[in-house]
């Protein structure tokens, strides 16, 4: 015998990476699962599902947010940026192999800021938001900025380096963009 009734579902519309995306999901669907499995944007990763590792970090209206700690329905009408969306940022540029990269992405690739790459999307979104607030961090500040994300591979040293390099690239590109629009 079961008292299980058919689960109630909701139409959820979220602006993801600049595009309104709709899916019909149960109220308990995590935002991380919604992005990964309903929208098939698998760049966002899940490392713990309890809010500790930061691998699932996305930007919610520009602010870093752990998508495993949020239900998809609560993201209704908000703006989400995932790692895929960073490639479309105004300061993203195509690299030699064709991918467009924002300053954080470019810096991680330059500084060996990743090994397996599983934690990387969470670091990239975190760092991208951080540099908006603090465009030229010191080494200590860079370390502090990433100290809510777990990485099991890199020992963080090259991630710290990547944050500092990202800040440089970001400044260069802002100047370029300003120059172009002037």
């Amino acid at each position: 015998m079961t008292d299980m009734t058919t689960e109630q579902v909701h139409d959820v519309t979220v602006n993801v990476n600049g595009v309104p995306r709709t899916a019909t999901v149960p109220a308990r669907r995590l935002l991380s699962d919604f992005l990964r499995h309903d929208l098939e944007l698998t760049g966002t990763h899940v490392g713990c599902e309890h809010g500790v590792c930061g691998a699932c970090t996305v930007l919610l209206d520009g602010k870093p947010m752990r998508s495993c700690l949020m239900f998809a329905v609560t993201a209704q009408d908000h703006r989400i940026t995932t790692v895929e969306g960073l490639c479309d940022a105004p300061d993203a540029r195509p690299c030699a192999t064709g991918e467009r990269m924002n300053p954080a992405q470019q810096a991680f690739a330059e500084c060996h800021g990743l090994q397996c790459g599983f934690c990387t999307p969470g670091f990239l979104t975190t760092v991208t938001a951080y540099l908006e607030e603090n465009p030229s961090p010191s080494q200590e500040e860079a370390r502090e900025a990433i100290s809510g994300n777990l990485c099991r591979c890199t020992g963080y040293q090259n991630i710290v380096k990547s944050v500092l390099r990202a800040a440089e690239i970001r400044t260069e590109r802002l100047e370029e963009n300003a120059g172009e629009s002037a």
Binding site: H45, C116, G117, R143, Q157
Partner: protein, 814 residues
Amino acid sequence: MTTQMFGAPIRRKEDPRLVTGGGRYLDDLGQHALAAAFVRSPHAHARITDIDVTDAVDVEGVVAIYTWEDLPGKVAEPLPLLIPHPTLTHGRTGYALARDEVNHVGEPIVMVVASDRYAAEDACQRIRVDYEMLPVVVGIENARDGEHLVHEDAPGNVAAHMVQQNGDVEAALAKAKHTLTLDLSIERSACMPMEGKGVYARWNDEDGELRIYSSTQTTTGVRAAVAAKLELPLAKVECIAPDVGGGFGVKIMHPWPEEVLVPWAARLLKREVKWAEDRREHFISSAHERGQLQTVTVGFDDEGRVLGLDVKFWHDNGAYTPYGIIVPIITSTQLLGPYKPGAYRCEFRSLYTNTVLVTPYRGAGRPQGVFAMERTMDAIADYLGIDRAEVRSRNFILPEEMPYDHGLLFQDGRPLKYDSGDFPASLDKLKKLVGWDDFEAYRAQAELEGRKVGLGIGCYVEGTGVGPYEGGHIVIETSGRVNVATGLTTQGQGHQTAFAQIVAEELGVRLEDVHVTTGDTRKMGYAVGTFASRAAVMSGNAIALATRNVKAKALRIAADALEVDEEDLEIVDGVVQVKGAPTTSMPLGTVAVLSNPLRYAFDDAAKAATQFAGTFDPDKPPVAEDEEPGLEGRDFYSPTQATFANGMHAAIVETDPVTAEITILRYCVIHDCGTMINPMIVEGQVHGGVAQGVGGALYERMAYDESGQLLNASLMDFLMPYASEVPHVEADHLETPSPLNPLGIKGAGEAGCIPVSAVIASAIEDAEGFPITSMPISPVELWELRQRHEAGEIPSLRHPHPAPDPSNTQEPTR
């Protein structure tokens, strides 16, 4: 001029894809597959008396529910014991789904397959399992006293008992002027990759073929194991490791129950099935490592030279031994490090406990071994009042004594024989890097400021690149694209780049033209796996050999076509040319065209290779005898023994006089892995290793209670270090090439984490002035040790502070 590839810090080819969200990890695949979830034992030791699934069957979305009773044939038999050993007299393995007894919390009992993971977990919650409790064995001491048994038929909980010996230890100890005995312990930790395990299976019913994707360190191993379990021809099974989010050892164990069950269910249901482990499952059902108790007795002379070393230890192997006793064997052999031990005996017992099984974790038994040896070196130095680095150097194997045979058998059943290394040079570099000789001045200054600081040191030798073999396969296409495959897998070590560097250098092509595939049984069916820091040594050399074969063929064909001598040709940036006269040349792609005579002209390159192209001798067959079409080659590398990398670390720590908080102020590494393919990648490996070592030294432990519950089964409670806890690593390298392989390389994957617990213990001990014998150590534990030290329960170190007590003439036991 081709730029140098081998040995250059080249940026990784895999990164543009990974930083833009293009990674494809296990759970990114099979978006429409059914999901599996498991009912796992909540008890550490119990008999299963009943399983009731009635409430679960009509949960919406449920497709199937399986218990052990549903399993057919070989799937129902115990999982294989992968690495048997004569001394493993009581090897035991579990079942894919528990049969009638569970031996640790987390053991799988029921598998549910449903439309998605939410539904599968709903059903799991409605399944009732009745248990009859059995006495629980947790911890090495309880296992050792043998009052309760994990397996009724394994007396004393002993899975394996092994003794290795070289020389007469009793006699050596009796003769030695001084002896010391140390009791040491190390707790459990775990690999804890950011991506858990996972498996996704696709059954093709029309062709009777199975494709498995697994987040594994060995696809050939998983493939063979699943084929055997499912009684399928090997040819009908493919296994692929997609992007893997870290392994560190836990993914070399195979087949995990899920790796058998998910493909089995996929075939039965004729549907795609996937299981992606969640973090809690990873904590309670994926392997741990490290737990050991050790007793070391050492005899030495007035100079601190070791004359005899007698080591006994007890190793916690958890509930089962599917991966054999590799870990304690490594401890027993690798603890010798860079030293000559005089006479040596090591005896260990590998013990069952009702906790999750133990298999290799990065370093695999070495951190424990190095802890034993380096604590011993520090104890000797303290006892005699000799500088700690000096005692070590007096015991070093010298460069001129290489190769050095310890007269023992290593983990691969082959002689423990060091191939090369220059330990005095490494120590010299380390002392300079950390400022060894200036430390006392620094300490005095710190003391004036009310700060307590300590300096620690640790040395290790690491057997890397164990056999039996790996292969390399290379094909050059008519476009000039170079495809390379090797069977071992990748979990973030940058193999796509490092192997491409080898090919680019050996062949003379551009890095961007080389494309490397790893861990795909469709591309290379013969392989062992990625573990024991073996990938670069094994596959790197195999790929180099395969590349040399293809290059020779390419030069042969080009020499013919260009009507010059082979000896006069070279390949630069993908073009075969006459040395010194590059106008006589032809692209490698054109050589590929010539190598493969064709019947059909499907494109321009093919048109040039048809039998009407007019370049062939009508009296000879298009493909000469003893030749094969195409620019393709394959070779294998199989060494007679492991290579031995080595290194030395030093750290300066500060301990808070009030709170006993421990801060690492500096961390220095000298690392020797022979010739480096890519120093940037090597350094990255060292950084990551040190971070894991720091976790193991100061934060991580598996907190089992006496009933076998893991109390800290989440990343909230298991303290994996963040950036705020990991020190900046200052690293320098020494390159003593291995004489054993063509490239002179040794493995580098595990080095960083091996000596860290020993180094940090050494530094804390130096700061505090009393011995540290157990790791990891938390501030609370250090604080308690201080209280016990003040109460006189723990003796002071004799050197450097406080000054030796002349009234104490007894040989101290630590």
